[in-house]
C-alpha cells in the first residue's frame, strides 16, 4: 500500500474497502480504461459523421439518390430504434446510459438524420427559401432527445443547430430590430435562463453547464461584435451585460462565467480605448493599467471563489 493511503487508513480517514481501491489505482495495480473507451467511441463517431457527409457530397453522381437516402434513413432509424428499445425510462435526475456505446449511437443517429435531410433538400429543394427550418426543427428534436435519453452531446448538437437557424433566418429577414445579433443575444439570454431553470428545478441539472457555456459566449459575442468604439452603444451594453453576469456568477461561485465576463469586457473596452489613443506610450500605458486592473479583479475573485477557482 502507498505510504499516503496507508497513513490515511491508519488514522481512520478511509475505510478498508475505499483504501484498498485507492491503493490499487495509485499503484496502478488497477487501470480502468473507461476514459480511453469513451475517447475511441467519441473520435469514431465524429469521424463517421465527417466521412459520411464528405462521401455523400463527393460521390453524388456515382451513388444513386435513393441508395443514399435509403442508407442514411435506415441507419438513422436503426440507431433511434436501438435507443428507444435499450434506453432507460425518463427521469428528471441524471440517468446513466445502459452501456458504453449508447450515447454515441444516439449522437450518430441524429447526425445521420441531419445528413439525410440536407441531401433531401439539396436534391429536390423541397423547402426552398425555408430550408433553414430543417435547422430549427432538428435543433428542437435534438434538445428533446437529449432530455429523453440524457445525452449532452446531442444537446450540444441541438443548440448549435438552433444558433445556425438564428443566423440564417434573421439574416434573410434583414429587419433592423430583428437582426442576427439581436436574435443571437436573445438566444444566448434564453440559454442562460435555461441554465438557471435547470439548476433551480433540478430537471437535468447537469445540463446547466452546457446551457451556460453556450449562452454566455453567444450573448457576449453578439454584443462584442459591434463594441469597437467608445461612442457605440453596443460597448456600454456589453459592459452592462458583463457586469450583470459578473455579479450573478460571483454570487453562484461560477468562476468560468466570471472569467468570461471579465475577458469580454476587457477586450472590448481596450479595443475601443485604443482607437481613441494616439502614440505608442499612451497605448502601452493603457494596456499596462487595464491589464493591471483586470489582474486585481481576478485576484479579488480568486479570494472570493476559493475552492472553485
Amino acid at each position: 500500500m502507498t505510504e499516503f493511503v496507508a497513513s490515511l487508513r491508519a488514522k481512520g480517514l478511509l475505510d478498508e474497502a475505499p483504501a484498498a481501491r485507492l491503493d490499487e489505482l495509485e499503484t496502478r495495480a488497477h487501470v480502468p480504461l473507461g476514459r480511453e473507451l469513451h475517447a475511441l467511441l467519441y473520435l469514431g463517431a465524429l469521424l463517421v459523421l465527417a466521412g459520411v457527409g464528405a462521401a455523400v457530397k463527393d460521390r453524388l453522381d456515382q451513388i444513386g439518390p435513393l441508395t443514399i437516402l435509403a442508407a442514411l434513413g435506415l441507419s438513422s432509424c436503426a440507431g433511434f430504434a436501438y435507443c428507444v428499445r435499450a434506453g432507460r425510462p425518463f427521469s428528471p435526475a441524471r440517468v446513466e446510459a445502459p452501456n458504453v456505446a449508447f450515447d454515441y449511437v444516439l449522437y450518430l443517429a441524429c447526425g445521420l438524420a441531419g445528413i439525410f435531410f440536407v441531401y433531401l433538400e439539396w436534391k429536390w429543394n423541397i423547402l426552398r427559401d425555408w430550408w433553414d427550418l430543417y435547422l430549427f426543427f432538428s435543433g428542437l428534436a435534438c434538445v428533446g432527445l437529449a432530455y429523453r435519453f440524457d445525452n449532452r452531446l446531442v444537446l450540444s448538437t441541438g443548440l448549435v443547430n438552433l444558433a445556425g437557424w438564428i443566423g440564417v433566418r434573421f439574416r434573410r429577414w434583414d429587419v433592423p430590430a430583428l437582426g442576427v445579433r439581436a436574435a443571437a443575444f436573445a438566444l444566448g439570454a434564453a440559454l442562460i435562463s435555461l441554465a438557471e431553470i435547470s439548476r433551480r428545478s433540478r430537471v437535468k441539472d447537469h445540463f446547466e453547464g452546457t446551457y451556460l457555456r453556450f449562452g454566455v459566449h453567444l450573448a457576449l459575442m453578439s454584443l462584442a461584435y459591434g463594441a469597437t468604439r467608445l461612442d457605440a452603444p453596443d460597448l456600454w451594453l456589453l459592459l452592462l451585460a458583463c457586469g450583470a453576469l459578473g455579479v450573478w456568477s460571483a454570487r453562484l461561485r461560477r468562476f468560468e462565467t466570471f472569467a468570461s465576463a471579465v475577458v469580454y469586457a476587457y477586450a472590448a473596452a481596450l479595443i475601443s480605448v485604443l482607437r481613441e489613443v494616439r502614440g505608442q506610450y499612451l497605448t502601452l500605458w493603457a494596456v499596462l493599467l487595464s491589464s493591471g486592473c483586470v489582474l486585481a479583479v481576478l485576484l479579488w475573485a480568486r479570494a472570493r471563489f476559493r475552492e472553485d477557482a
Binding site: 485507492l22 487501470v31 469514431g44 463517431a45 469521424l47 462521401a55 460521390r59 429543394n125 448538437t157 502601452l284
Partner: protein
C-alpha cells in the same frame, strides 16, 4: 536550488491527489475535506481556467512594462542588456510573489518565470548574435539559451512548461545545426527518444516529480514518430518531401508505424497512461499517413471507415475486458470513473460536426435535368 521546500511540494501533491479522488467519485466531499484537513494547509494554487487567465494578463502587463522602457531603442546590444535586466526583474518579481503570497501555482508567477526564460534567450541572441554572423548561428544561440534557461527554471520552480521549454529549445538547436532536412529529422527523433529515456529512467525522482513529468513523457513519445513522418508538412503547407517511396521514405514509413506500436506496448506493459495515449495517437496518425506515403489517392469515405474501425475496436476491447474473471485482464478493466465522459468543449465540437452538414445546402436548381432522375430517358446528367 528548488524554491519550494520538499514538504510543501509533497503537501501540494497530496492535496492534488485528494482532489482527483473526489472528482472521480472515489471519496465523498466530506471525506476529502477531512483528508485535506489532515494533510495540512493547501498551498495557494488556482484552478486551471484562472491560471490561464492570470498567466495571460501577467504576460500582457510585463510586455507593456518592457515596451515602455525599450521603445525607440534600435541598438542590438542595448536591447540585449535591457532584456537581461528585465529577465532579472521578472525573476525577482516572481519570487517575491511566491514568498510574500505563498503562491504555488497561481499563473502570475509562472508567467513571470516563462517571460524571464524567453527574455534570457532573446537577450543572449541580441548580445552575441548578429553583427555579420549567420541566421543559423543566431537561431542556435537563441535555442541553446532557451533550453539552458528552461532547464534552470525547471530546477528552480519545477514547472511542466519549463520541461517542455527544454525539449523545444534542444529541438530547435538540433534542427538548425543539422546538415540536411532528413538528417535533422533523424537527429530530432533520436534527441526526443533520449530525452524520453532520461525522463523515464532518471534515478531517485520522487513520485510527485514522476507524475508531474507524465505530460512531458506523452509529448516526447508522440514527437519521435512525428519527427520522422515525411507527409505531415503537406498538411501545414510547408516543406514537402519529394523523393517518392525511396529507401529513406520506406524506412520512415516503417518507423512511424513500428515506433507508436512499441510505445503502445511499452505503455500497456508499464501501465502508463501517458504512453498508451501517445502510442495510440501516434498509431492513428501513422494509419492516416500510409496512403500519402504510397501515393494512393484518399477517398472521401476514408474518415468514416477509420471511425467505424475505432468504434469496433472500442467495443471489442470492452467485451474482451468484461469477459475476463471479475472483469479484469491483468490490471486492466473497462470500468468508468466519474468524469470519464467528455463534456464541455468536446460537446461543442461534437455539436459542430453533427450540425455542419446542415448548413447552407446549395444544391441544383429544380428542375435541371439530371438524366434518369428527372425522366431524362436514362441519359447521363452530362447529356
Amino acid at each position: 536550488m528548488r524554491i519550494f521546500p520538499a514538504e510543501l511540494e509533497e503537501r501540494a501533491f497530496r492535496h492534488a491527489r485528494v482532489r482527483e479522488w473526489k472528482d472521480a467519485g472515489l471519496v465523498s466531499a466530506q471525506t476529502a475535506a477531512n483528508i485535506g484537513a489532515e494533510i495540512g494547509e493547501a498551498p495557494a494554487r488556482a484552478a486551471w481556467p484562472l491560471r490561464v487567465v492570470l498567466f495571460g494578463f501577467s504576460g500582457l502587463c510585463l510586455s507593456a512594462c518592457i515596451g515602455l522602457f525599450t521603445i525607440g531603442i534600435r541598438d542590438r546590444t542595448a536591447i540585449g542588456v535591457w532584456c537581461l535586466v528585465w529577465a532579472v526583474i521578472a525573476v525577482a518579481a516572481g519570487e517575491t510573489l511566491i514568498r510574500a503570497l505563498k503562491a504555488y501555482r497561481q499563473g502570475a508567477e509562472e508567467a513571470l518565470a516563462a517571460a524571464a526564460v524567453v527574455l534570457c534567450a532573446f537577450g543572449a541572441e541580441r548580445l552575441f548574435g548578429g553583427a555579420g554572423r549567420s541566421w543559423d548561428f543566431s537561431t542556435e544561440l537563441f535555442s541553446f539559451a532557451l533550453a539552458a534557461a528552461s532547464a534552470l527554471a525547471y530546477a528552480r520552480y519545477g514547472y511542466r512548461l519549463a520541461a517542455i521549454g527544454v525539449a523545444v529549445g534542444l529541438g530547435v538547436l538540433v534542427s538548425s545545426s543539422s546538415g540536411s532536412v532528413n538528417a535533422a529529422r533523424v537527429e530530432l527523433a533520436a534527441l526526443y527518444a533520449a530525452l524520453l529515456a532520461a525522463v523515464t529512467f532518471w534515478p531517485d525522482l520522487p513520485r510527485r516529480a514522476r507524475v508531474r513529468l507524465e505530460i512531458a513523457r506523452f509529448f516526447l513519445a508522440l514527437s519521435v514518430p512525428l519527427c520522422l513522418n515525411l507527409r505531415l508538412e503537406r498538411i501545414a503547407g510547408g516543406y514537402a518531401y519529394g523523393g517518392g517511396l525511396d529507401a529513406f521514405a520506406a524506412a520512415t514509413l516503417a518507423a512511424i508505424v513500428l515506433i507508436p506500436a512499441a510505445v503502445l506496448a511499452w505503455g500497456v506493459s508499464s501501465r502508463a497512461r501517458a504512453l498508451i495515449w501517445a502510442g495510440g495517437i501516434g498509431f492513428l496518425i501513422a494509419l492516416c499517413s500510409v496512403k500519402p506515403y504510397l501515393g494512393i489517392a484518399r477517398n472521401s469515405w476514408d474518415p468514416a471507415v477509420l471511425g467505424a474501425a475505432l468504434i469496433a475496436a472500442a467495443l471489442i476491447l470492452k467485451r474482451w475486458l468484461d469477459a475476463a474473471p471479475a472483469g479484469r485482464r491483468g490490471a486492466y478493466s473497462s470500468q468508468e470513473l466519474a468524469g470519464d465522459r467528455g463534456g464541455g468543449a468536446l460537446g461543442l465540437l461534437a455539436g459542430v460536426v453533427a450540425a455542419a452538414p446542415g448548413t447552407a445546402p446549395s444544391g441544383p436548381d429544380v428542375p435541371r435535368g439530371q438524366g434518369g432522375n428527372f425522366g431524362g430517358g436514362g441519359a447521363s446528367g452530362a447529356f
